[in-house]
Symmetry: C2
Subunit: 336 residues, 2 copies
Amino acid sequence: MIKIGVDANGGDKGVEATVPGAMRAISMFKDIEIVLFGDENKIKPLLTKSERISIVHTTETMDMGEKDPIRAVRNNKNSSLCMAMYAAKNGEVDAVVTSGPTQCVVMAAHLIIRRLKEMERVALCPILPNFDGQPRLLLDVGANVELKPEHLGQFAVFATVAAKEVLGIKDPTVGMLNIGSEPGKGREFDKESYYYLKDLPNIKFCGNVEPDELCNCPTNIVVSDGYSGNIAMKSLEGTAKNMARMLKQEIKASLGGKIGYLFMKKNLKRFAKRMDTKEVGGAMIFGIGKPVVKAHGNSDGYAFGSAIKQVVQMVKADLINKVVMAFPKEEENKNE
Amino acid sequence: MIKIGVDANGGDKGVEATVPGAMRAISMFKDIEIVLFGDENKIKPLLTKSERISIVHTTETMDMGEKDPIRAVRNNKNSSLCMAMYAAKNGEVDAVVTSGPTQCVVMAAHLIIRRLKEMERVALCPILPNFDGQPRLLLDVGANVELKPEHLGQFAVFATVAAKEVLGIKDPTVGMLNIGSEPGKGREFDKESYYYLKDLPNIKFCGNVEPDELCNCPTNIVVSDGYSGNIAMKSLEGTAKNMARMLKQEIKASLGGKIGYLFMKKNLKRFAKRMDTKEVGGAMIFGIGKPVVKAHGNSDGYAFGSAIKQVVQMVKADLINKVVMAFPKEEENKNE
């Protein structure tokens, strides 16, 4: 039986999203149990099916006002987020799902569950919607602000295993986010990283990927220093959101638009679904000793259920052990 | 009479776009003359109105295959692009418009017309479409890959004058592209730049702007190191293009969609126009001794005409002299 720890108090909607999400996940998988870390007085009225779902009571939530994530984690040990992380560290659950504030989630995973020794940095890895319907991995998008080429290499190895084992992609290709397609493009960091990735075994590196290709991406994985990845990700999200808003506004602006809408309602819904991240789940946190998924802060029950589904797939794929095996065993070599 | 130099051979469409664009601009302004640098055998058949338009013949075009822009400029002195730049340097024209390859345009402007001594770096500054219909300036988006806080300061001063004089914004506000809104966010460069801009006179600095706000931007100007600005700009363009493609695909996918389209044709056209850069013109090159506008490579005649209109406004506003006046006069102070 797989045990998933859920930060039930987290996210904009709290238990209104996490409890329905947990029930949705339970109905999807016969072989999982869910532990809800959260306020049992709020959870119980919503828990209409409690089969394989247990509650560990805490009324505390991660302090959203705290700007320093390290201090936030240290001062909120009894928050639902930290309690779920401690349960993962102690082996009481196999993985954690939360829609808490991103930097706190990354820091809590880092400080409580701890990094794998193979990974010098932690990465935040969302799944990008793609024009061809095939999901893509982009990492890091904000767990770091500056990185070395070796870190991009570790991310590439981790993501290659994840793309294979979790997304079912046979021979995942890796690209590097850069402002131009040629090898000599970008900052010194980009030039060095290009040649580092090119020579790295265990990954299939295909060169630079320009940001305008992200929605129609030639590779399955795109690695990036956390800063540029964050810029690209947020530009993409902001544009998509604003375009959807403008489209709605223009359609509502006239009777013709409203009548037209009735005819193409289904088409527009399919369009919205293609751009929607609700189906996909959340961002994976790579580099930690247990699978952790960070769902969108504004996730509803459906989206939160997808995030739990995603973490279950990570556990079932035995992702963490497979990643560890993919790295060369330096210490063993030394002992020989 | 204002004289505009046009690189007539440049861009994906060459004379097919630049010649109709020039004729469109001539009909907009009674007080301008245009010099077309390009192949007169190709230009003449298209030039149905030749009033105030002259031709300087050259069959050569900037070599698009050359990856090194410095070498490209040095080896293509008789290209239409370089000839237009030499004419600006020698005072034969007051400004240049081209839709040639971006890096070559930046380098040709730099090497031929030369930088203003007040500006240590050159910036590429497109006009972003915004949700509220008010255009925004984003710079630098790719003339540089690494910058110092002082360079962002110089860009902010230049763009403030341009927003006031060319876009007619009364009291332009300046933001800095960053991954978070608080002052302590980002890399060391971002933290230093934040405080540098905060203390800079002659600009109205309003703090960090996150990339997801770019289409709905709280400030009139956003400054950025060339690398991050390029990432943001290209992510935005790529998302907009791919979303438009998906929308078309979904509408065409069924009869209902096609009928709906007939009803909301006008609405969708207005939507497309709001996202379109054709109305806006091109990217301005800031830091050079003459106004230079780089139109999109795939500009048609209409878009190229808008780019000429934009450069005429820059000349009429006496932009370069006003920028020079906005910088503190260090040498004069020394002499006192």
